[in-house]
């Protein structure tokens, strides 16, 4: 009897949890999960300092601000994180040397360092999604980037040229939006660690929403450089709770440091 009661209580608790607004699946009129919303930023808008007000802004580095090794420490910590990265792309063994060389000289080679677009899939998850019947618009605050994803059943555009974000089509698989992207230029990288690719790369992204959480996952295929498909580490985003939240314009990118870099030190 006691066991039956505890089961009933547990079932009621689960039912109550599922009925809570935080976990309920919002849907559009056509029955698909509603992915629309700002998936970046913070609830409260940035407040500007008053003229004449002093401030101190610290970019996080795990050392004392007066430590003379502070620049070194930034590089060391970043390299430690990269070395510990468990999910590296499965490059063909004969390309390991090229990846290492590009990685060592990333300061001069990484296209993103020199203001080129990140490109799909390095862009990662969108900052905002605008979902309409037959079309999903993905907005990325970084570098003011947009992608339009038709979900009306059309095929890839056979006449599309190769671009940084490629030619994308979307479809719904149950409650997951699946975005298939091809015709990606080989100029982009998959990450700063020398992760190059060919123009045969094919990317499948999956976006799914549970309550106020969005999960982005991506599978990258490139038969020219990989031994098998690479499952990127999924990213989880939280819905900006402010219904009036807006993305801010990202200032232009103007790289001016390259000519002054004199060593191979890198993050």
């Amino acid at each position: 009897m006691a066991r039956a009661m505890s089961s009933l209580v547990a079932a009621m608790a689960i039912a109550a949890l599922c009925a809570s607004p935080a976990l309920a699946q919002r849907r559009t009129a056509d029955g698909h999960p509603d992915l629309s919303g700002v998936w970046a930023g913070r609830e409260e808008a940035v407040k500007a300092l008053a003229p004449g007000q002093s401030t101190r802004i610290l970019f996080p580095v795990r050392t004392n601000p007066d430590d003379k090794r502070i620049f070194d420490e930034m590089d060391r910590a970043a390299k430690e994180r990269q070395a510990a990265e468990p999910n590296k792309p499965p490059y063909k063994p004969e390309l390991a040397g090229k990846v290492q060389l590009l990685s060592d000289k990333r300061q001069f080679n990484d296209p993103a360092f020199y203001c080129k677009p990140l490109g799909v899939p390095r862009l990662g998850p969108p900052s905002q999604i605008v979902q309409t019947p037959g079309l999903v618009v993905l907005l990325y605050q970084g570098r003011n980037t947009f992608r339009t994803i038709p979900t009306d059943g059309r095929a890839h555009n056979a006449d599309a040229d190769w671009t940084w974000n490629g030619d994308s089509v979307g479809r719904w698989e149950d409650d997951t939006l699946v975005i298939d992207t091809a015709k990606l230029v080989e100029d982009s990288w998959l990450g700063a660690d020398g992760w190059f690719h060919s123009n045969k790369m094919h990317v499948v992204e999956r976006l799914s929403r549970k309550g106020d959480a969005l999960t982005w996952a991506a599978t990258v295929e490139d038969p020219v450089v990989f031994t098998k498909a690479w499952e990127m580490t999924p990213r989880n985003l939280k819905l900006n709770p402010n219904p009036k939240a807006l993305l801010e314009e990202d200032p232009p990118c103007l790289e001016q440091d390259g000519p002054h870099i004199v060593t191979d030190d890198h993050h």
Binding site: A48, F59, N64, Q141, D257, T263
Partner: protein, 134 residues
């Protein structure tokens, strides 16, 4: 003094971009932490751009000769989240800047502190405040 500290988790969570903030080149490869310099001059231009904001300065010597300097700092997103806007960086004003010189000898440096004529200061730097001496 208003004090803002960004933790790593906050910076990544709020950036909304794939690449973490300051994923640009190594500072060590370009600037010498052992070569600090104090520049006193007039701010002639503020470039509010990625990947680094630039402040340009005309520095006059005792004889009135002007030397042009460029001083760079964090990306605009980091400054913005810290409450700064481009017009708070002193365009047209006489300032004193503490910075670290470029290794290649150019009139270029990485900013630490701007002190304005009225005495207020902007420190834009790197570090973990919890590890500072009290």
């Amino acid at each position: 003094m208003k004090y803002i500290l960004w933790t790593g988790a906050m910076a990544v969570a709020l950036s909304g971009a794939a690449a973490p903030a300051l994923a640009h080149h190594s500072l060590q490869s370009e600037y010498d932490i052992n070569q600090s310099i104090t520049l006193k001059g007039t701010v002639t231009k503020v470039d509010w751009v990625n990947p680094h904001v630039y402040v340009y300065l005309d520095v006059k010597d005792d004889k009135g000769a002007v030397t042009k300097w460029a001083v760079t700092t964090l990306p605009p997103g980091n400054l913005r989240r810290g409450g700064l806007t481009r017009d708070l960086l002193g365009y047209g004003e006489t300032v004193s800047i503490l910075a670290f010189r470029a290794r290649d000898g150019a009139n270029l440096a990485f900013l630490r502190t701007i002190t304005f004529a009225d005495g207020h200061k902007l420190e834009i730097w790197l570090g973990d405040a919890s590890k500072e001496n009290p």
